[in-house]
Symmetry: C2
Subunit: 116 residues, 2 copies
DNA sequence: ATATCATATGAACAATGATTCATATGTATG
DNA sequence: CATACATATGAATCATTGTTCATATGATAT
C-alpha cells in the first residue's frame, strides 16, 4: 500500500522554514489590529482624507473616547500618524501597507463569494 | 488665517467611500483569524507541505485538541482545506491569499524595523 | 464486534480586549 | 488667568476568545 503522506519529510520541511517566535508574535499582533471593525473603519476613513478626531467620532457615531483609544492603538503600530493643527490632532495613514493588507483581505472575501 | 483642515470636505469624501457594514465586519473577522500566533504558525507550517494533525501537534508542541480547534477556525474561513487519508486528516492551504496577506504584514514589520 | 489510532467537539476557565465613564492634558481666546 | 474646546488616558466593566479537560466520532485492523 502506497504511503501518500510522508510525515518525516513534511515535518522536516515545515520545521526548517519556520520563522523565529518573535516575528510570528509580531505578525499576530499586527493582524490583531486589523481584526476589529472599528479600526478597519477608521483606516477606511483615512483612505480618502486626513481627519481629526471629532470628524471620525461623527462619522463612526461613537464616543470620542472610544475613537481616541483605537487611534492610539493604530498609531502605536505605526499604521497611522498625526500632526497638530491648532487645537486639533489630524490623523492620516502612515504608509501604503495598510491599503495592500486590507486589499488582500478584500480579495480573499470577494473571490470566496464568487466561487459559491 | 488659512484653514488647513477642511472638515466638511474631508467628512464628505470619507463617508462616500465607506463600504457596507457587513463587508467591514467580514474583513475584521478575516484579520482576526490572522491575529493569533498559533494560527499564524499553522499557516506557516502549511507553506511548505501538507500536514496531518499529529504532525502539527508535534511541530507546535501543543495539545492535539488545541490544534484541532484552531484548524477548524482556519477551515471555516476557507484559509485551509483538508482531505482524508485513511485515519488521518491532511491539511493544506486552500489558496494563495494567505501567502500574500502574511507577506504584506511581514513587509510592514521589516520596513518599520529598517527605518529606526 | 472490539480495540486502537487519529481527529473533532462541547463545556469550563482564564486571559485579553473594546467600550464607557470620569477626568486629565493641551491649546487657543477673551 | 480663566474659560472653552479638542483630545488623551486611567479604571471598571462586559464580551470575546484560546486553551484545557473530558468525551465523542470516524477509520482501520484483528
Amino acid at each position: 500500500m502506497e504511503k501518500r503522506h510522508d510525515h518525516a519529510e513534511a515535518i522536516k520541511l515545515a520545521r526548517e522554514n519556520m520563522p523565529k517566535d518573535e516575528l510570528l508574535c509580531d505578525l499576530g499582533d499586527l493582524f490583531k489590529i486589523f481584526g476589529d471593525t472599528t479600526r478597519i473603519k477608521i483606516l477606511y476613513l483615512l483612505f480618502e482624507s486626513e481627519l481629526c478626531v471629532l470628524d471620525m467620532t461623527e462619522l463612526l457615531g461613537m464616543e470620542q473616547s472610544a475613537v481616541s483609544h483605537q487611534l492610539k492603538i493604530l498609531k502605536d503600530a505605526k499604521l497611522i500618524a498625526s500632526r497638530r493643527e491648532g487645537k486639533m490632532n489630524v490623523y492620516f495613514l502612515s504608509d501604503d501597507h495598510v491599503r495592500s493588507i486590507i486589499g488582500q483581505g478584500f480579495e480573499h472575501l470577494t473571490e470566496e463569494g464568487e466561487r459559491e
